[in-house]
Each structure stands twice: as structure tokens, then as C-alpha cells.
């Protein structure tokens, strides 16, 4: 592959849907004939090539506005009809995710979601999975920071069968002890494997540094100790708190509104809330003094995984759009400043990028890259330089125009498949967005100016307070950091691959006081 600029996932996974959208003014300057360099044109076609093609105006993109109907039990159903799709996606989402995991029970929402795939409505785990296969459906169940989500998609004639299966999985899990033990064992295996992955470790250490090991500061999947301590009763309690008032259904595809409503009314209409609905998100989130530098040791690794960032803003913030635009320029595209700097100019990396994870809480911003171990300190300096420049200088007119064009087309792309569209529609519910969020996206984008973008950046991003997380060879990394006098970072906190604080400390970096590490919140 040439490059992979993966959107920032962090623990906020499914909620990180940040589409840009299209309409797309013609952003290029008028075609300038380019001077022919090199040998004189020897082929008649070169006169064609010497002329830069025009870029004609583009029509608007009519992004969908979902229709919302309410089932007889009050459950909201968001529908997008796309007659030519041939496929149908149906989904269930509830506003209850890993941010609600109690202290010491990290991973609860995620493992409760996994239990939804471990047998339902009297059918065994294998029978449920086989039922989905028989429809040609991919059944996906998971929990992110802010949500638990179940999704299915298949050819359109499977709508009724999918609706029934969706309701079985969402509402009638068997929750048997024998299945719990299997699910818990599988999760412990996955968590053990994740400890060997520098990228997962850097992410875990980064999140824990940002928020402390609390509601927002742990990987949604939990950690080995917390998952060992979980019981089936915990999962039952979590799932019992899911209710129609906190939940919504989404359907995208060929079927008409009436047909979709009938199918999902039949499947979900009788569902009654078991108890009081409660969104137990991050009321208990305490501000922490963030360490500036955290390090996870992977002796002998050829690369260092770097994350540099801080908390972001909630998805509901008016700054989301200007921040997305700024991100497109600093790290959200191939020609972004970070990628050009670290990959193309310096050759430190296969790629560098950045992203926001927006959620109901502040989410996070991070720049990230993997660099050769022997250039780690230099790469850290370049990342901080680019982030500082983003705050110090407004975007140029060309950058603003490019960012708008890129985000506009990203919206088109993100709404192509029925499944991706269903996820985008689910975000409208999860984050209380206007129904015409995507329809108005381009107009809102076009209204941005360098000043409005820079204002949002300055309100939000503070490079001198950002946290650096590194997963790599600690000895090699520290030697470089100590030798680099320009890097004004305190000694790192050492963390384990799950993000938990280790007892030991490392020697300080470049003579800077280690005070930044001393006031962090305690960790379980």
C-alpha cells in the first residue's frame, strides 16, 4: 500500500464518525499552462499534457435527511430510503457505553455487548451466528465510549428476517453462565494478545494519561485484571439499564418507510422499559493533571509508536467543524503537514496523521505516527513543531480551500454504503445532532474562514500542554530524548501495555524538572 491514514480510533471507535461533505466549489486556481521542462515534446500528445485541464463547477450533493418515526413503545426509528441500494442495513444503538463502566469494572459495556452475541431467544450462540450467515448478513455488536451498537446488513429481501434477529440479539439474550465463561475467556485472550501490540499500548497509555484510568481513560475492552473480576451479574445489570428511551433503531436501504416501520414495529414494538433509564456517563470524571510524557517499553522494537495530543471537544460543540477542517490540513490527508514533514521530507515514517475523536464527552485529539527508533526524538520535535505552527498561524487560503474540498468529498464517500450511512445516521441520535446535519454540512463548511478556524484551534489545542505517549524501546528512546536539549519534556511516566502506571520512574529528559509526573491522579 502506498499510505494509510487511518482515522483516529482510540477508545472512541464507533463514535468517531466525522464526515465531511461535498458540494465542492471548484477549489483550484485557474489552469495555468505549465512550463515544459526536460526534453522538448517529442510526442504530439505532449501538447495535450502541457495544458492543465479545466475543473468545471460541480452540482450539489443531496445528502439524506432521515425520516424519524416512533414505534408504539416510544422507540425512535431513523429511516433513510435508497431505492437503488439492493441492500438493507438495520441497527440498534443505545446511549450506554464504556464511559459508564464503573471504576475497577473496565470493559463491562464491551463484554456485555459481546454477551449479546452469545445466544438469544433460546437459540445458542452458534444458532444465532448461523442464522445471520444464512441471511448473508454480517452481525456486528460492540460498545464504544458512548454507545452500544448492533448492526446487520444483507440483501434487501432479508429485511424481516434481519429485524427479527436484531430484536432477538438486542432484547432477548440468553445470558447463560456457560456462555459468560466462554466470552470472558475469549476476551482475556484478546487482551493478552493486545499487550504485545505497540500501537494498542501507546493508545492505552495515551488515554490513561489524558483522563486517568477512569471512565474515559481506559480502552473500551477493559484490562486483564478488570475483566477477570467481572461477573455475569455485572453484564446483566448493565443490559437491564438499556431502555427504549435511551435507544434508537436505524434502517437504510431499498425498503420504503412503511415497510421498514412495519418490520421493526413487529420486532421491537412490544419492548417495554424494564426500569428507569439512566445515562451514567462521565459525571464522575475528575480533571487530572496530565503527565506530559508517558512511555511503554518494548525492548528491541524497530519503531516507536508516537501519539501527541490532549482532550478535544464534545461532538455537540460548534467548534467541531472548524476543528475537522484544521485537522484535514495538519494531519487528515496525504498532503497534510504532518505526513509531508515526517514521511516525505524526513523519511522518518511510513505515514503520519492526526484526528479528533468526538463524543458526548470531550473525546481526544492526537497526532500519531510510527517512526524508526533511531529518529524518535527528532520525529517528536517535528510533530510538536507542526502542532505549534497550527496554533500560531492561520491556514492559508489554499489550505482552507483544500480542506473544504476534501471534507466535502469525504462526506460523499462516507454515505455510499448502507452500513456506513446507518452509522452516520446513528450519530445523529447518539449526539443529538440536527436531522439535516449532513444536508447542511457543505454550506456550513463553506462558511468557514481562516479566522474562524484559527479561533477554534486556539480555543482547543494547546501544544505546550499536550501529552506525548511512546511505545518503543525505552532505553534507546530515552537516550535520544536526553541528548536533545530542545525537547522540554519531563521524565516519562512508565506505563504497562494496558496503560497502567508502573512503580518505576525513568531518568529525566534534557534536564527538565520531573515535576510534571508527580501530581497525576492515582490509578487502580
Amino acid at each position: 500500500m502506498r499510505a494509510r491514514l487511518v482515522a483516529l480510533a482510540l477508545a472512541f471507535g464507533a463514535c468517531n464518525f466525522a464526515p465531511p461533505k461535498p458540494d465542492m466549489e471548484p477549489p483550484l486556481p485557474p489552469a495555468k499552462p505549465q512550463a515544459v521542462s526536460g526534453p522538448a515534446a517529442t510526442v504530439s500528445g505532449e501538447s495535450v499534457l502541457a495544458q492543465r485541464p479545466p475543473i468545471p463547477p460541480l452540482g450539489p450533493f443531496d445528502a439524506p435527511v432521515p425520516t424519524v418515526v416512533t414505534l408504539s413503545n416510544g422507540l425512535k426509528l431513523y429511516i433513510v430510503v435508497r431505492p437503488s441500494a439492493g441492500l438493507e442495513a438495520v441497527g440498534f444503538v443505545t446511549r450506554q457505553g464504556a464511559a459508564a463502566d464503573p471504576l475497577g469494572k473496565e470493559g463491562l459495556a464491551s463484554i456485555a455487548a459481546a454477551m449479546l452475541q452469545a445466544g438469544s431467544a433460546g437459540k445458542s450462540q452458534a444458532e444465532v451466528a448461523a442464522a445471520a450467515d444464512a441471511m448473508g448478513a454480517n452481525l456486528a455488536v460492540g460498545a464504544s465510549t458512548d454507545a452500544l451498537a448492533i448492526g446487520l446488513s444483507a440483501l434487501a429481501p432479508q429485511l424481516n428476517a434481519m429485524s427479527t434477529l436484531l430484536a432477538d440479539v438486542a432484547l432477548r439474550p440468553n445470558l447463560k453462565l456457560s456462555d459468560w465463561q466462554k466470552v470472558q475467556g475469549e476476551r482475556l485472550g484478546e487482551l493478552t494478545a493486545a499487550r504485545n501490540q505497540p500501537r494498542a499500548a501507546a493508545r492505552a497509555a495515551f488515554l490513561a494519561a489524558l483522563y486517568g484510568y477512569g471512565p474515559l481513560g481506559h480502552p473500551a475492552e477493559g484490562n486483564i485484571a478488570s475483566v477477570k473480576g467481572l461477573r455475569l451479574a455485572d453484564a446483566k445489570a448493565f443490559l437491564a439499564s438499556v431502555s427504549p428511551g435511551d435507544s434508537a433503531l436505524v434502517a437504510v436501504g431499498s425498503a420504503s418507510t412503511e415497510v421498514v416501520q412495519a418490520a421493526l414495529e413487529a420486532a421491537f414494538g412490544a419492548w417495554k422499559p424494564a426500569g428507569r433509564s439512566a445515562i451514567r456517563t462521565r459525571a464522575d470524571t475528575k480533571p487530572v493533571v496530565r503527565p506530559r510524557f508517558v512511555l511503554v517499553d518494548f525492548p528491541g522494537k524497530p519503531q516507536s509508536v508516537l501519539l501527541v495530543g490532549q482532550p478535544g471537544v464534545p461532538r455537540s460543540s460548534p467548534d467541531v467543524l472548524p476543528l475537522e477542517l484544521a485537522n484535514a490540513i495538519v494531519g487528515g490527508s496525504f498532503t497534510s503537514r504532518l505526513n509531508q514533514n515526517l514521511r516525505e521530507q524526513h523519511g522518518y515514517s511510513y505515514g503520519a496523521g492526526s484526528g479528533f475523536a468526538f463524543g458526548r464527552g470531550p473525546g481526544a485529539f492526537a497526532a500519531r505516527t510510527s517512526v524508526q527508533t533511531d529518529v524518535t526524538a527528532k520525529a517528536v520535535t517535528e510533530v510538536f513543531n507542526e502542532l505549534s505552527r497550527l496554533v500560531a498561524e492561520p491556514l492559508t487560503a489554499d489550505e482552507l480551500s483544500k480542506g473544504k474540498a476534501l471534507l466535502a468529498f469525504e462526506l460523499v464517500e462516507s454515505l455510499q454504503s448502507v452500513s456506513a450511512t446507518a452509522r452516520a445516521v446513528a450519530d445523529i441520535f447518539l449526539f443529538d445532532l440536527p436531522l439535516d446535519e449532513y444536508k447542511t454540512y457543505v454550506a456550513r463548511l463553506q462558511a468557514l474562514t481562516p479566522a474562524t478556524v484559527q479561533d477554534a484551534v486556539r480555543r482547543t489545542l494547546h501544544p505546550t500542554e499536550m501529552t506525548l505517549a511512546i511505545a518503543g524501546d525505552a532505553k534507546a528512546v530515552l537516550a535520544q530524548m536526553q541528548a536533545d536539549s530542545a525537547l522540554k519534556l519531563p521524565a516519562p511516566q512508565l506505563r504497562d501495555p494496558e496503560g497502567k502506571l508502573l512503580g518505576r520512574t525513568a531518568p529525566s529528559v534534557s534536564g527538565a524538572a520531573a515535576s510534571g509526573t508527580s501530581r497525576t491522579s492515582p490509578h487502580p
Binding site: 499534457l49 475543473i55 448473508g136 485472550g189 518494548f298
Partner: protein, 442 residues
């Protein structure tokens, strides 16, 4: 894209997935497919060059992929870095990948960029070789070495990717080295290598162009003519071939890595892409390892708690494919326990027919996957180009899917017996011995 679904959807009846296209071939041999879709204000062009890692010279493994990177380093009229900057200024993005058999490039963006995309592709196809420099080569050599570090060396069990090809294929076979190549060979590549490779492989007759999206076919074809018809006709290069490789017996590799869990990968040589037997292997892989109802998931992950995860795939290639099973152990489970359970499940598939329900579900998943591949412009265009490469000009989606139609439980059992036999490669990966206080010891 048009879906014509039977009124009553019989179990496993194939949906009629039809993509209306226009075909053309220019006098210089460039093959063209135009697939209009006015429902999305976007356009993709997918340009497939029929050259992959199998066409590399000895001592130059990884070169086809390194070359892929160099295609973005600028040509005469769109000098570096304008391929990317002009495209992204207009809202377009691009990417590319290299496999054993092909190198595939795409650009996607708002439909008003169609002409810009074609102009940039034409420029680099005509002039890239003359504009290549040592400096450009050095820039991308570093990037690719870092790609190798990031995607293989810094990934747990990544060394399996290096070890498998030479164990599966005999020395000299063009599939006997990995697409990413060796770091030493990547360091050895010269500017002259780049120019020669370009001159040989990057010619119109060895390329196939798909345009999909919001275009008028006649106008799009006129633009293709404007930008590609003047490119001179050049000799059609011949891809590397090899006698069909066979593994007479088991080859066992034992590796260690900086990991906590054992892992086993078992691989067999299997029938080439586009054949009915390849489709049969695809269904076998699905029955064994796709999703949480599959046999290996049920046995290894759910029931016996031996594995953390398991995956099975039939990876189709032009000369010969590879069928592989990989399983990551649970903590404390030995690789041999894992292997024994896998062997029992494979043996079961060889000795008894799968159930009709398993076969029908696997087939339905194939059909639905195909429909999903047609959803986005990028994957649709790539699929159309692959179909043409595999089945020839005019190949339809149904040509691909029809291979699955006649497959029966009895036939799948036969295929399992033919393919999943004693001749195979088993790679065991175990944790490196732990040095006490390893962090300080380094």
C-alpha cells in the same frame, strides 16, 4: 448498479448483480471500462497494471511495490508533489496497492476532477521514467523501509509473512518471496532498475482503466481518447510463469517472536483464481473460519477455549493460490494443542461432506459480499478491473458468482481432499525465551 431480485428469493438463489458498462480498447492496447452511475456526485478511475512482485528480478524483491511508490514522485507536466496537491486541492484522494500479480492505482473525488485524473495518469505513463531521479528513489526507499518496519517488523508475528512464501514455493518460483521484499533488496534497487521496470511494464497494452461514477460514457470515452490515444503502442510484456508447485510432504518452520501467545499458521497450495475449484476453496474457508458459526471458531475459540482468534482464507492468485488457516492460542495453550484441533477439523471436512445449510450460508455470504463490493465507487471499480483481468474483456459480476452456483457438499468434500492434504507448510511461532528483568538487560 442494478439489482434484479427474484420475486421469491429462494434459499441461496444468486441475486442478479448487474453493472452496466461500456467497453473499449485503444489502438495502443489500453483496455477501458466505463461504468456510469449518476446517483453519486463522484468519480473514480482505477488503473490496473499487470505487473506484481512475481515479475521481479532476483536480488530485487519488493521492487514492484517500491515502484508503486515512485509513481507518485512526479512526471513532466505534473511534477512532484503536484499529483497529490492538485488532486487534494480539488477534494480528490488516491491510493494504490501491489500484490503478487498486479499493481493497482485509484483516484477518487468529485466528478469534476475526471479530466484532471486522466491527465495526471497519462502524464506519468508517458514521462515518469524520464523524470525519475536518484533523489526521488531515495525518498521512497526510506518510506518503504519504514512501511516494512511498521507493517511487518513492528507487528507481532509479522515475520510469518516473510517465512511463508519460500516455504510454500520452490526457489525460483515467482511466488517464493513476499510482496514487501527484503530490506537488503530494497536497499539495492538502482535508478536504472526503476527506468527499466517502467519501460517494460508501464505500457498501455499492459494496463486496464476503469472509470466509475457520475460520468456520461461518451464524454468519458472522448476524454480517455484525448489523454491516452497518443501514447505509443509498446510491446506487451510477458508476466513470469512457473510450473505448478507441489508440496510432497509437510514443511515445518519454528519461529520465535516478542510475544506472549503461541500462534500457528498452516498453509496449502490451492487452485488458481477464477476457477471453480478456487470458488470451492473459498466456500471451504468460509465454512471453516468465517464468523462465529464457523467450525474452527466453534471448536477452537468457543467450545475448547484453545484459541483467541482464528482466521481462514483462500487467497486467489493467477498462477496458484494459497489456502491458509491461522490461529492465535489462548494464554497457556501450546501451539501443538492448537494444531491438533485444527487437524481434526480439517480431517472432518475431508472425510465427511459439509451440511447443505453450511454450503448455502457460505454461498449466500459470497453473493452478499459481491453486492457490498459494488456499493462504493472505489471498490466497484477495482472489482470490475479484477473481473476483466481474471475472466477477460466483457466479464460480468455474474461470471464470477456463477462459479459458486453448482458447488455441492459432495464437491466441496472432494476439493478438501484434493487441496488440504499432507503437503503443506506449518509455521509455529512461540514466545522468545524471557530474559529475567529483560528491560534492564537490554
Amino acid at each position: 448498479m442494478v439489482f434484479a431480485l427474484p420475486l421469491t428469493l429462494l434459499l441461496s438463489a444468486a441475486p442478479q448483480l448487474t453493472v452496466p458498462v461500456t467497453h473499449a480498447e485503444l489502438p495502443n492496447g489500453l483496455k477501458v471500462i466505463i461504468a456510469p452511475d449518476r446517483t453519486v456526485p463522484g468519480v473514480v478511475i482505477n488503473l490496473l497494471y499487470h505487473v506484481g512482485s512475481r515479475d521481479e528480478q532476483p536480488g530485487r524483491t519488493g521492487f514492484a511495490h517500491l515502484f508503486e511508490h515512485l509513481m507518485f514522485m512526479g512526471a513532466r507536466y505534473v511534477p512532484y508533489p503536484q499529483f497529490d496537491t492538485l488532486m487534494e486541492a480539488g477534494g480528490g484522494v488516491n491510493n494504490a496497492f501491489t500484490s503478487y500479480d498486479i499493481t493497482d492505482y485509484h483516484s477518487v473525488g468529485p466528478s469534476n476532477l475526471l479530466e484532471t485524473f486522466l491527465w495526471m495518469e497519462s502524464d506519468r505513463l508517458l514521462t515518469l521514467g524520464q523524470e525519475m531521479t536518484q533523489e526521488k528513489l531515495e525518498t521512497q526507499r526510506k518510506v518503504v523501509l519504514n512501511e516494512r518496519r511498521q507493517s511487518y517488523e513492528n507487528v507481532p508475528y509479522g515475520k510469518v509473512e516473510d517465512a511463508l512464501p519460500p516455504a510454500l514455493f520452490p526457489k525460483g518460483n515467482p511466488y517464493s518471496w513476499p510482496v514487501i521484499g527484503s530490506a537488503a533488496d530494497l536497499r539495492a534497487a538502482t535508478l536504472q532498475d526503476v527506468k527499466d521496470f517502467f519501460a517494460t511494464w508501464y505500457v498501455p497494452s499492459n494496463a486496464s482503466l476503469v472509470i466509475a461514477g457520475d460520468v456520461d460514457p461518451a464524454q468519458a470515452l472522448a476524454l480517455v481518447n484525448k489523454y491516452f490515444a497518443f501514447l505509443p503502442k509498446r510491446p506487451l510484456p510477458q508476466q513470469a510463469t512457473a510450473p505448478t508447485a507441489k508440496l510432497a510432504s509437510e514443511v515445518r518452520l519454528q519461529l520465535t517472536d516478542k510475544v506472549d501467545l503461541d500462534k500457528v499458521v498452516i498453509a496449502w497450495l490451492s487452485p488458481r483464481s477464477g476457477t471453480t475449484e478456487d470458488a470451492a476453496c473459498d466456500l471451504l474457508a468460509s465454512i471453516l473460519g468465517r464468523g462465529k458459526a464457523s467450525r474452527l471458531y466453534q471448536r477452537l475459540v468457543y467450545r475448547d477455549q484453545l484459541a483467541t482468534e482464528v482466521s481462514v482464507q483462500q487467497e486467489p492468485r493467477e498462477l496458484q493460490s494459497v489456502f491458509s488457516i491461522s490461529a492465535l492460542a489462548r494464554p497457556g495453550v501450546d501451539v501443538h494443542a492448537l494444531e491438533k484441533a485444527i487437524d481434526e477439523e480439517v480431517e472432518q471436512l475431508r472425510s465427511q461432506q459439509p451440511t447443505l445449510a453450511e454450503v448455502e450460508a457460505a454461498r449466500t455470504l459470497v453473493y452478499t459480499d459481491a453486492a457490498r463490493r459494488l456499493e462504493s465507487l472505489v471498490s466497484r471499480a477495482q472489482y470490475l478491473n479484477e473481473l476483466q483481468l481474471t475472466y477477460g474483456v466483457g466479464a460480468t459480476v455474474m461470471r464470477d458468482l456463477d462459479r459458486y452456483q453448482g458447488l455441492t457438499p459432495a464437491g466441496l468434500k472432494d476439493t478438501a481432499n484434493q487441496v488440504l492434504g499432507v503437503g503443506r507448510v506449518v509455521v509455529e511461532v512461540k514466545p522468545e525465551p524471557k530474559v529475567a528483568n529483560a528491560q534492564e538487560a537490554k
